[in-house]
Amino acid sequence: MTDRRRTGVLLRAVGIALLAVGAVAVPGRAADSNPADDLLDRARHAVRNLEFHGTVRIWWRDAKGGQNQTVAVAAVGGELQIAGGKVLEDSGRSWVAQAGGWQTLWADANDTKDANAPNLARKYTVIRRAGPMVVQRSTTMLVIRRGGHDVEQIEFDRVTGIVLGRDRFDVTGAPTYRMEFVTLTGVRVRRGQAAVPKIDAEAPGRVRAAPADTARALTGGFVLVDARRMNASETQLRYSDGVFEASVFAQSGALDWSSLPAGGSDVRYGSVRARRYRSAAGTVMVWQAGDRTLTCVTDARDDDALGIVESLSRSSDSDWTTVVRFVTGPFSWR
C-alpha cells in the first residue's frame, strides 16, 4: 500500500469514526430522551451523512404465509435511494416515481422524532445489549418489550449507527416481520449533494392544528401526533404510542367494498367489519364508520390495531364531520 493510499484509507476511517462520535452527540429531546430515541437519531444522521450501497431482505407474513423480497438501497450525496431510485428520501422529505414524474410523499424536512409522541417507557421496557453480527458488522441491539414478550428488536451498526436489522413480533412472540442487510459496501463519508425532485404544490402536508374534536388519544396509549391534509377530500391523522405509528386516513363517503384490491380478508373488530391486508409495510385495515371510510396503516401488533379500530369506530359522527369539514374547507390548512 502506497503512502498516499494509506493516507486516504486512514482519513476515511477517521472521518467515519468522527461521524460516529458526532452522531452520538446529535441533540435529542432531553426531557424524553431514551436509548431508542438516541439510537434512531443517530441512524437518521448516518443515512444523511454517509454513503453506501446495499441490499436488504424483507420477510413478512401475510394470508398466504411467509413472503421474501430483496430491495436495493443506496445512500448517495445525502439522498437515500430505494429500489434503484424508485423511492427517494432526503432529510425527511420523500418521493416515489410515477408514470408522470415524482409524487411527493412527505414534504416536511423534519427528520426528527415527532415532538408529540409519548415516551415509550409509558408502555414498553427497553433493553440495550450486544446484538448479532449482520453483514459481518457488530451491532448494538435494542429490545423493546411489553407484557413479557419482545415486540421489536432493532440492530444498529456499532460503527456507523445504520439500522442493519429490524424484527417485529406478534402477541405470542412469533415473528411477523424481519428486515436485514444482506450486503453492504462502499461505506464512506458523504460527498456532495444529490439533486432531489421538487415538492409538489399539492403534496400532503401538515395542518396548523388538528381539528378540535379529533380523537387525541386512542386505546392502547396511542396519542395524536399531527394531522395532515392528503387532498381535497382526505385527511391523515397520525398516532403514536412511542414505538409504533398508526396513520388513519379519513374520507367522507361510504366505502365501496368492490373497489378494494384482492388479497385481503374480512375481519370483525367488535361490531365493526373491516377488510385487512398484510404487507411488508405492516397491517392495513379499511372499514366504514358512519358515512366515513377509514383506512388505518400500522406496524403495531394486532391487539393494538384492534384497539385503534374500536376506539375510532366509537367516535361520534359529529367528530368525523368536523374532521372532514376541516380538511375540505378552503382556509383550513396550511
Binding site: 436488504v56 430505494i82 420523500s94 412527505w106
Partner: protein, 160 residues
C-alpha cells in the same frame, strides 16, 4: 171521556201498537195496551188498520230493479228521474285515491328536496397503496429511513 173512567185514555200510538203486534211488550205494557183496546174504539180501529197494512206489505212480491239500474246508480250521480244519489263506497274510493295521490306527491317532493339540498353520500375508493406510501414516509421521517422506506420497494399489490 166520562168522569168515572179509571184512567185517562192515551192517544193512539203507532209504535206502541206495532210493538204490541210484534209481541215485544212486557206483561205490564201489554196489559195496558189491552185495556186501551177495550176502552177506546180509536185504539181498536188503529190496531186493525196497522195489522192489515203489515199483512199487505209482507204479502207483496219482491220487485226486481230494471236491468242496468244498479249500475247506473254507481256510475251516475243522478237517477233517471234527476234525483241525486250518492254512492258512499265510490266516494270513499275516490277520497282514498286522492289522499294516496297527495301523499305520493308529498313524498316525491320530499325525496327531491333531500336529493337537492342534502349532499348525497358518495362512495369512496380508498387508494391503499398511496396511503401506505405516505404512512411509511412518515415512519421514515420520524424513525429510521432505511427500514421505513425499504418496504415500498416490495410489490405490495394494492394497485393505486
Amino acid at each position: 171521556m166520562s168522569d168515572d173512567s179509571v184512567f185517562d185514555v192515551a192517544p193512539f200510538d203507532d209504535a206502541r201498537a206495532s210493538a204490541y203486534l210484534d209481541d215485544q211488550l212486557d206483561a205490564t205494557e201489554r196489559r195496558e195496551v189491552a185495556a186501551l183496546l177495550d176502552a177506546d174504539p180509536e185504539w181498536a180501529r188503529g190496531l186493525d188498520e196497522l195489522a192489515q197494512t203489515r199483512t199487505l206489505v209482507r204479502g207483496l212480491a219482491v220487485v226486481e230493479p230494471p236491468a242496468g239500474f244498479l249500475e247506473s246508480l254507481v256510475t251516475n250521480d243522478a237517477t233517471p228521474t234527476g234525483a241525486t244519489v250518492t254512492d258512499l263506497d265510490a266516494v270513499r274510493h275516490r277520497r282514498t285515491r286522492r289522499l294516496t295521490g297527495a301523499f305520493a306527491a308529498i313524498a316525491a317532493a320530499a325525496a327531491l328536496l333531500v336529493a337537492v339540498v342534502v349532499p348525497s353520500v358518495a362512495r369512496t375508493h380508498p387508494a391503499l397503496a398511496t396511503d401506505v406510501r405516505v404512512h411509511q414516509a412518515g415512519v421514515a421521517a420520524s424513525s429510521d429511513p432505511v427500514s421505513g422506506l425499504a418496504p415500498l420497494g416490495t410489490s405490495m399489490g394494492f394497485g393505486r
